[in-house]
Symmetry: C2
Subunit: 453 residues, 2 copies
C-alpha cells in the first residue's frame, strides 16, 4: 500500500498518464495492488470511455466489486460491458446488495433481469426488493445487512449473538435491539456492549431514543438527520416500526457532497449532471440550454433598451450608467439568493420566512442607499447637474432594493411550490435585474431629463 | 423524547415562537427535556442575542455541555457570559477536551486562562495542548480520548483492555493497535474484534493499511480522506507515527458542510462568515465590501462606455446589444468557474489542468459560435446590414470564448498560487466580462460601422 496521501496521489497521476496516453500498460499491474478501491475508482472516473473499460479489466478481481461501487454511476453500464459471463456473476456475488441494486437500476431492464436470474435466489430476491425503492429515498440508499438482538438478552449473550450474525455483515458499529414482534426498541453501540458488565440485560444499556426513518423519506432528509444528531448509522423501519435496513454515514457523505455540487451548479446555471471530467461535446450539450434561455431573457433587456433608443441618442451619457446600475442590482440579488438557498439547504423548513425576507429588504434599502449616494454624487458632478444625480441615484436605489427583495424571496417561493430553491439561479436573476435596471434608468431619464437637453 | 422528525420540528418552532416573541416561557421547561442537544442548539442559533442567553440558561444542566458544543461558534462568548462560577466550571468539566479547546479559543485570553485554572489540572493540560493547534487543522479538530491496544494481545485480552480503557472514552468504533514504541501499526474495528475467535492475536486480525494524518494537515484534506475511503474515524499521528488523537466522521460532516457553504457564498460574493440568521446590520456589514468593489469594477466598465460616448450617440442601436453580449459572456464565464471550483474542492490536485482548460476553451468556441450566429442574424436583419450582424456576432463570439477561458483558468491559477479558487467569484468575473464585452462591441462598431452612418 502507498504509505501517505501524497504518495497515493503521485501513483494515481502516474497510472492515469500511462493509460490516458495509451502507452504500454503491462508494467502497471503490480502498482494497481498498491491502491485502494476508492483510488482505482478515481482513476476510472478521470479516464475517457475506452480507457475506462480497459482499465477496469485490469483491476484485480478481488478489488473489482468495491471499486465498482465507488465509481460515478454514469460509468456503470460501460464498465459492465467489459465484464462477461462467469466474471460478471462473480462480481455481483461480491457486491453489497444495495450497491448491486443501484447498479442494476442503471442497466437496461432486460440485462438487469438476466443478471438477477444468474445469481443465487436469496441474494437476487434481496436485490430485487431494494430495486423497488426510489433511488433517492432512504429505501434506495439503505443496506439490508444488519445485526439485531432481542432486548431480553444479557450483554454476554448479545456478544455471542453479534459474533454469530456478524460473520456475514460487513462494517457495522451499532446493534439494533428488537422486541418479540420484531419492532425496533433501541440501539446499542458496540462500544457500550463491550464496556457493559456481562450479566446486564441489553434493555438496561441500550439507547431507547432512536432517530429512525421510513423507507420513503428523501435521502437529503436522511443526510440532514445523520449530520444533525452526529449519528454513524440510522435504522430504516416500516410503518409498524419493524426493521428493514440501515443507512451508514459513508453513504450520507456522498449524498451531502452530491447535493452541495447540485446547488452550486444550479446557482451558476450548470446542469447538475455535468460530469467532473466532461468532454467538450458534453460541456456544450450541458450548458447551451441555459445560455439560450439567457439569450432570450437578455434579449428582452435589449428590447427595453431599443424602446428608449431615442433617449440614448439624445443623452448618450446615460448609457454609461446602464451597466453599472444593472451590475449592482444583479450582484445584490445574487448575494441574497445564495444566502437563502444555502439556508434552505441546511435547515429544510424555513422559520418565519416573511421575517427573514423583511430583514433582507431592510438591509437592501440601506445597502442600496449607500451605493446610490456614491453613484448619484459621481453622476451629478460629472454631468454637472443635481437632476442627473437624482435620476441615476434613484434608479440605483430602487433597482438594488428590488434585486434584494427578489433574491431573498424567490428561493422561499420556489420551496413553497415544492421546487428546488437553487433553480432561482444567478443566471435567471441577473437577466431579470438587468431588465428592471434598464427600465428604471432609461425611463426616469426620459421622464425627468428630457427638458434638460 | 419527540417521536418523529416532524414532531421535533413542530416543537422547535413552537418554543422558538414563544422565546422570540418574549412571551411567558415558564411553561416551556418540561418541553425542553423532550429535545436533543442538537435541537436545543438549533433553537439558540435561530434566536437573537438576549433571547439566546436567556434560553441557554433554561437548558437543563445535564444537556448544556453537549448543546454548547453544537451551537454556532459565533454564539459562544455571549452564551458563556450568562453562566458563571461553579456552573461554568461544571460546564467545562462536562465538555469533551476538543470542544472545550475550541470554545476557549473564542474567548478573550484572560477569561480563557481563568477558566483553565479553575478546572482539574489533568483536564486543563489536555485542553491547553489542543489549543496550541490551529483551529482548522487535524490537530485542532481531533479528540485525544481514544482506546489503543498492543498488537501482541489476543482478541479476548483486547476485549478486556477495551472494557477497562473504554469506560472513560465516549463514542468510538475502532481500536488503535500500537507496537512497543507506541507507534501506530494498525486499526481494529470493534466489529472485527467481537467477531474474531478469542485466542487469535490482534496483529492477525487488524487492518495494517491505515490512512493517517499529521496534526498540521488542513481539515479539508482530512474531510476528503474520510469521505474518499469511507472511514468513520482517522488517527492523528506525530512524525514518529505515535498516536496523538483521532478525528471522527461527525466532525468531518460539519467541516464538509462549512466548506460547501463557504464556496457557495464566495462564488456569490457573500462573506463566508455571514450568519444564517443575521440581523439587517450584520447583513449590510457583510455584503457592502463586495458591492463597493463591484461598484468600482463596474465603474471601469462605465468608463469604457463613456469613452465611446460619441459612437453611441451616432448609432444608439448598438446600446441594445451591449447588455446582451455582456450577459452572455458573463454567464458563460460563471458556468465554467463553477465547474472548476467544485472540481478543485472535490479532488484537491488538478490532473492535467491545461488539458481541462483546453476542453473548456474548445467547448467555449462552439458555444460562442452558436450564440453569436443567433444574435448576429437577429442584429443583421433588424438593422438591415450584414456588417452590423458581423460586428455584433463577432464581438459575441470573442467575448464568450474569452469568458469561458477565464472562468475555467482563474480558479486553477488561484489554486496554484495557494489561494482559495472560490475567490474567483461570479461578482468579480462578470464585471470583468462586462468591460471586455463593451470594449469589443463598441470598439468594433466604431471601427467598422462608422462609414455606414
Amino acid at each position: 500500500m502507498a504509505e501517505s496521501a501524497e504518495q497515493t496521489k503521485e501513483l494515481v497521476d502516474r497510472i492515469l498518464s500511462v493509460f490516458a496516453d495509451g502507452g504500454d500498460t503491462s508494467a502497471l499491474d503490480p502498482l494497481l495492488r498498491e491502491l485502494r478501491p476508492a483510488d482505482l475508482a478515481e482513476i476510472i472516473d478521470r479516464l475517457d470511455g475506452d480507457a475506462r473499460v480497459s482499465f477496469f479489466r485490469r483491476v484485480p478481481p478481488e478489488l473489482r466489486a468495491e471499486t465498482l461501487s465507488e465509481v460515478d454511476e454514469e460509468s456503470w453500464p460501460g464498465l459492465l460491458d467489459g465484464v462477461e459471463g462467469a466474471e460478471r456473476r462473480a462480481l455481483f456475488r461480491e457486491l453489497d446488495a444495495d450497491d448491486a441494486a443501484d447498479i442494476l437500476s442503471e442497466l437496461p431492464a432486460q440485462e438487469a433481469r438476466e443478471i438477477l436470474e444468474a445469481i443465487e435466489p436469496e441474494e437476487s430476491r434481496e436485490i430485487a426488493a431494494l430495486m423497488r425503492y426510489d433511488d433517492e429515498t432512504a429505501g434506495g440508499v439503505m443496506t439490508t445487512e444488519l445485526v439485531s438482538v432481542p432486548a431480553t438478552l444479557t450483554a454476554d449473550e448479545a456478544i455471542g449473538a453479534v459474533r454469530s450474525q456478524g460473520q456475514e455483515v460487513r462494517d457495522f458499529f451499532t446493534v439494533y435491539v428488537i422486541d418479540e414482534e420484531g419492532r425496533l426498541v433501541g440501539t446499542l453501540p458496540l462500544r457500550d456492549l463491550i464496556v457493559a458488565t456481562g450479566t446486564t440485560r441489553v434493555e438496561r444499556i441500550m439507547e431507547s431514543d432512536v432517530v429512525r426513518v421510513l423507507p420513503t423519506v428523501d435521502q437529503e432528509e436522511v443526510a440532514r438527520l445523520i449530520a444533525k444528531y452526529n449519528l454513524v448509522s440510522i435504522p430504516v423501519v416500516d410503518e409498524f416500526d419493524r426493521l428493514l435496513g440501515r443507512i451508514t454515514v459513508d453513504d450520507v457523505i456522498d449524498i451531502l457532497e452530491a447535493e452541495a455540487t447540485e446547488d452550486f451548479f444550479r446557482l451558476s446555471g450548470v446542469d447538475e449532471e455535468e460530469e467532473t471530467y466532461a468532454t467538450p461535446t458534453e460541456i456544450v450539450r450541458s450548458r447551451i440550454p441555459w445560455l439560450l434561455i439567457t439569450l432570450f431573457t437578455s434579449g428582452l433587456g435589449g428590447l427595453v433598451v431599443a424602446y428608449f433608443e431615442d433617449t440614448i441618442e439624445r443623452m448618450a451619457f446615460i448609457a454609461v450608467f446602464m451597466p453599472v446600475v444593472a451590475a449592482m442590482a444583479g450582484n445584490s440579488a445574487v448575494q441574497a439568493t445564495a444566502v437563502a438557498v444555502r439556508r434552505l439547504a441546511l435547515t429544510s423548513t424555513p422559520f418565519r420566512p416573511l421575517r427573514s425576507v423583511a430583514r433582507e429588504v431592510v438591509a437592501g434599502l440601506v445597502i442600496g442607499f449607500v451605493i446610490a449616494a456614491c453613484i448619484g454624487l459621481a453622476g451629478g458632478f460629472w454631468q454637472g447637474g443635481a437632476r442627473v444625480g437624482l435620476v441615476v441615484g434613484g434608479s440605483m436605489w430602487i433597482a438594488i432594493s428590488l434585486g434584494v427583495l427578489w433574491g431573498a424571496s424567490f428561493p422561499i417561493l420556489l420551496h413553497r411550490l415544492g421546487l428546488d430553491p437553487a433553480v432561482s439561479s444567478s443566471v435567471f436573476l441577473t437577466t431579470m435585474t438587468d431588465i428592471v435596471s434598464f427600465l428604471l434608468i432609461l425611463g426616469s431619464a426620459s421622464l425627468f431629463l428630457g427638458g434638460l437637453l
